[in-house]
């Protein structure tokens, strides 16, 4: 990957709403060049999505729970963890899924409207999978920081004096 592609990736990772024209100016490229690079990165499945970080706890009447479930599984001959991982990530309530080193194998992050939905997911869907040996469910109580963004921090504005030498 060349430095131009990397620079665009870093810019978009920081702010997915940066428009092409601004990116072009910031990187000393032409608009065409930026468009082509972004298209290429999308085609190559390097850029997968443009999402927004939202603090849902600030949204009135929003009731949502997030849980992280540690899952131990029996790896299967030939496919290792991939097959069971695929079976798990197909559930739309699964927001994230990672293969981990250490005491358990898969880390599943799941979001739902109510705690009972998560309970049902764990007992009826996740535990029902043949290769799942055990699950440990942790509920998130509060988000302090997510995707590099600090939550609940008051914007204090610029602390610098207006004009200085």
């Amino acid at each position: 990957m060349d430095h131009k592609e990397l620079e665009i990736l870093h810019l978009l990772e920081g702010n997915a709403r940066l428009d092409i024209e601004t990116i072009a100016k910031m990187t000393e490229m032409t608009i065409d060049e930026v468009e082509q690079i972004i298209q290429k990165l999308e085609d190559e499945n390097i850029i997968l999505n443009y999402s927004t970080v939202i603090d849902w706890s600030q949204v009135r009447r929003y009731e949502g729970v997030t849980a992280m479930i540690d899952v131990k599984v029996t790896p299967q001959r030939g496919v290792g963890f991939d097959e069971v991982a695929e079976r798990i990530h197909r559930f739309p309530e699964v927001k994230a899924l990672y293969l981990m080193s250490g005491a358990y194998d898969l880390s599943v992050t799941i979001e739902a409207g109510r705690m009972t939905e998560i309970a049902r997911f764990v007992s009826e869907k996740l535990s029902a999978l043949d290769s799942v040996i055990s699950t440990t469910t942790h509920f998130q109580l509060k988000t302090y920081k997510h995707d590099g963004v600090v939550f609940g921090e008051k914007r204090e504005g610029d602390k610098r004096i207006v004009v200085s030498p």
Partner: protein
């Protein structure tokens, strides 16, 4: 009741002759207004990286609240020496050639006072940071200004330097990458200037506080030029590169005799730089380069954006190779730089600094700092565009 003349007489002649900084007036005006987007700030918009703040807090928790050695903690001076050699290929002896100062500002002061006798001339290359000439005057020296020109990209030429030299000239103060023009000097240009400096047996006070903020080429340091180390007082600090302006910690490097002279002044006036700031600086040098890189990339992107944006709205601007300023010409508006800045502030609530405060060669230009958020820069550009089109319509 005392008479006003009586009041006046109690101030020294020296201080009375020093003009107050032109920036002060602007600050007073801008700070009373609301919704101001400031391109007038001469410091980074980043907060000091957390590891640096944390190291300083830890030093206090552990009780490091006493004085340090006058020249600064030896540990810190060793790190400065290592950093200067690694980054800029300029080795200094931490035991005898480095003094840690209260910001680069103090470094300029003690450098001038260490070498200038009353009546001696010091060439000040302008447009430049506002304190050089007043510091020379306070030391009893005579500041002689040389104005760099836009047609030379605001670079100092050997001819301009030569012309300013008299038998009384002791030293020349230069600052590249430059505040306010963002201009840098390359190796070949430093070589040419060095030849003149050697020929006339002068000293150089080289303020390289913006060295890390060089965007197109690697910074070339004055003392790296052959034969120049012995004639150079190198000034730098942590403010710009490590986003540590409020910490007030910098350093000055010079040959042993000059360092000893500067240390003499420093020990009587400052004792030592703030201990907790020195601990922060130590951490910045040990584990701060990644943050510097990240910040430099961000400045460069904003510089590129602003150059293009100014071009589009018809502001003529040379491409600055360093620092975080653009220095566009506003001559086609028919306004002088102070009028431009004042009217822009009042009508569009955008603060820029009139070029004239940085020396007479800055007249006809304004300094725009792009060390502020992209959102603010975009809004500022559209407000300046509106301001310019009103001026055009009126012409």
């Amino acid at each position: 009741m005392e008479s006003t003349t009586g009041r006046k007489q109690r101030l020294s002649q020296t201080v009375q002759h020093i003009k107050p900084s032109g920036i002060r007036r602007f600050f007073d005006m801008a700070s009373t207004m609301e919704d101001v987007i400031s391109l007038g700030v001469g410091e980074p918009d980043f907060v000091t990286p957390w590891n640096v703040r944390e190291a300083s807090i830890l030093s206090m928790e552990r009780g490091y609240t006493a004085y340090t050695a006058n020249a600064g903690m030896l540990e810190l001076r060793k790190e400065i020496a290592r950093y200067l050699e690694d980054r800029f290929d300029t080795p200094y002896n931490p035991e005898s050639e480095i003094v840690v100062t209260v910001g680069a500002s103090e470094a300029i002061d003690i450098a001038v006072r260490a070498i200038v006798d009353p009546g001696e001339e010091v060439i000040v290359v302008e447009p430049s940071f506002v304190s050089y000439a007043p510091i020379v005057s306070l030391a009893g020296g005579v500041p002689v200004s040389v104005q760099t020109k836009k047609e030379n990209g605001f670079k100092l030429t050997p001819a301009e330097l030569k012309e300013a030299i008299t038998p009384k000239t002791k030293a020349v103060i230069v600052c590249f990458p430059n505040n306010p023009t963002g201009t840098i000097l390359e190796e070949s240009e430093l070589l040419e200037l060095s030849a003149v400096i050697k020929e006339h047996d002068l000293m150089v006070i080289s303020d390289e506080i913006y060295a890390e903020l060089s965007y197109d080429t690697k910074h070339y340091s004055f003392p790296k030029i052959e034969g120049m180390k012995d004639r150079t007082i190198l000034i730098s600090g942590f403010s710009k590169a490590f986003a540590m302006t409020g910490w007030r910690v910098g350093y000055v490097c010079a040959p042993e005799d000059i360092s000893a002279a500067m240390l003499k002044i420093h020990q009587y006036t400052m004792m030592c730089a703030s201990t907790l700031a020195q601990f922060g600086a130590l951490e910045a040098l040990r584990d701060g380069q990644d943050d510097v890189k990240r910040m430099v990339i961000s400045y460069r992107q904003r510089r590129n954006y602003m150059i293009e944006a100014f071009k589009e709205i018809g502001l003529d601007c040379h491409v600055p190779g360093g620092a975080f300023y653009l220095f566009p010409s506003i001559q086609n508006t028919g306004l002088n730089s102070e009028e431009f800045a004042e009217q822009l502030l009042k009508e569009e609530q955008v603060a820029v600094v009139p070029g004239s405060v940085f020396g007479e060669g800055g007249e006809g230009y304004v300094r725009c700092s792009y060390a502020t958020s992209m959102d603010s820069l975009k809004t500022a550009v559209s407000r300046i565009e509106r301001f310019l089109s009103k001026r055009k319509a009126a012409q």
